[in-house]
């Protein structure tokens, strides 16, 4: 993909409007290109700026009242009967319910960053599995994999082989999620592939959490300023065991 065609699609990518194939190609480009991530960051910043600035014009109270009056009249003309007090109350109640449901959804959509990340982690795992881009540096040697990230990321992810514990390191790649370039480490356990995503975080440490998304187990934690997101179709027990080994 050329940078020009990527730039035309960055907005749709940000809005989640690309099909899976195009999204995959774009993420691959973002993980490799020196310039496009900056353009994406600017776009993202503008979007967040618009959303976080209070730009929404809510309807004035008197407008609602005047519309209700007009509609009430329209009804009167059609059926030669007004709406009774009870009906008004029912209408007011349903509008209130609708409004509060609307607001609830709004808060919900905004409030769950970690769910969004978990979703991205799983879809990145799935895409890597069905695509051809699971591993950029195939190696079971942590001293090969770790230096490979130099110059590709602005941080150095911790890399450990756990072959003796039954989790063999098979390689790594650079992926793109949570709006940044991240290290993805790939491990295997009895043919089950485990993807470990690592990126810097402001959190010093965070306890291990397990969740299940679309049938994949996701384990996450933070240590020493690095966030770890681990996902696999491996069973929850063994994945947590793997997490404990990595945290050791």
């Amino acid at each position: 993909m050329t940078c020009d065609s990527v730039r035309d699609m960055l907005g749709a990518y940000m809005d989640g409007e690309l099909d899976a194939n195009a999204e995959f190609q774009l993420r691959t480009h973002l993980a490799e290109c020196p310039d496009c991530p900056e353009a994406y960051r600017r776009l993202r910043f503008l979007k967040d700026g618009i959303r976080e600035t209070n730009l929404y014009y809510a309807a004035p109270k008197e407008l609602e009242a005047s519309i209700r009056t007009s509609l009430g009249t329209a009804k009167k003309n059609e059926h030669a009967a007004g709406i009774g007090f009870r009906q008004w109350m029912a209408i007011a109640a349903s509008v209130l319910v609708a409004l509060s449901i609307g607001m609830g959804l709004y808060v919900f959509r905004r409030g769950t960053t970690s769910e969004l990340v978990a979703q991205q982690v799983v879809s990145s795992h799935v895409r890597a599995m069905i695509g051809t881009h699971l591993i950029d540096v195939p190696s079971s040697d942590q001293h090969t994999v770790k230096p490979w990230f130099n110059g590709k990321l602005d941080y150095s992810p911790p890399v450990r082989d756990l072959k003796n514990e039954g989790f063999a390191l098979v390689g790594g790649r650079v992926d793109y999620l949570n709006d940044r370039r991240v290290a993805a480490l790939v491990y295997e356990r009895r043919k089950h592939v485990i993807n470990v995503f690592v990126w810097p975080t402001t959190r010093k440490a965070q306890a291990t959490k397990l969740e299940t998304l679309n049938g994949y187990n996701v384990v996450r934690w933070a240590d020493a300023g690095m966030a770890f997101w681990v996902t696999s179709d491996l069973n929850a027990k063994e994945l947590q065991q793997f997490a404990a080994l990595l945290r050791r």
Binding site: D8, G11, D15, L43, G49, I50, A58, A59, L63, L99
Partner: protein
């Protein structure tokens, strides 16, 4: 088939989207009184044509009516008033160089973001409002504005590009 003018259904399906209707009209027309008039008119129309509503998302259906009523209003009002002179504070970043990121962070530049959206042509302004403030999908935006998906995408791209430039210029202290 829905009974024409079923007020109870209309109240349930359409009236909850009053804020969305007003927000779009207010951004397209830029004046409160005009927006109120057009939204009021749109609701009466929506009520009249409610029988043609085939179910689904009441908001997109209503916004389509509001949008068309706004565009008709704008076309009629040929004597298009010039934009009010931008009087928002223009922040310079500390080192004096353009820094849109920092600029956006500053509260003072809320004024410039608002101004920059208002300065967009209506066709660009509406896609930004529908996407960022109403969070409509491209498909829904296309149906409201009566354009193809590709057009939604390219208008959003151009709108965002202009906004980026406008906000960067405002933070540099350069008049538009």
């Amino acid at each position: 088939m829905r009974e024409t003018g079923n007020l109870a259904d209309f109240e349930d399906v359409i009236l909850p989207h009053l804020n969305a209707a007003y927000n779009l009209a207010r951004w397209l027309l830029r004046r409160d009184e005009d927006a109120q008039d057009v939204v009021h008119d749109s609701f009466l129309r929506a009520h009249r044509y409610f029988a043609s509503f085939e179910g689904g998302d009441g908001r997109a259906w209503l916004l389509g009516i509001v949008r068309n009523t706004c565009m008709t209003f704008l076309r009629k009002k040929r004597s298009f008033e010039p934009l009010p002179e931008f009087s928002g504070q223009r922040e310079k970043s500390e080192n004096g160089s353009p820094d849109p990121e920092r600029a956006l962070l500053l509260k003072e530049n809320i004024a410039s973001l608002r101004h920059c959206i208002e300065a967009l042509p209506p066709e660009y302004r509406e896609v930004i409002i529908m996407r960022e403030l109403e969070e409509l999908s491209y498909k829904e935006i296309g149906s409201v504005a009566g354009v193809a998906l590709g057009t939604v995408m390219s208008r959003l791209n151009r709108a965002r590009k202009r906004l980026e430039e406008c906000v960067a210029n405002a933070s540099k202290g350069v008049a538009q």
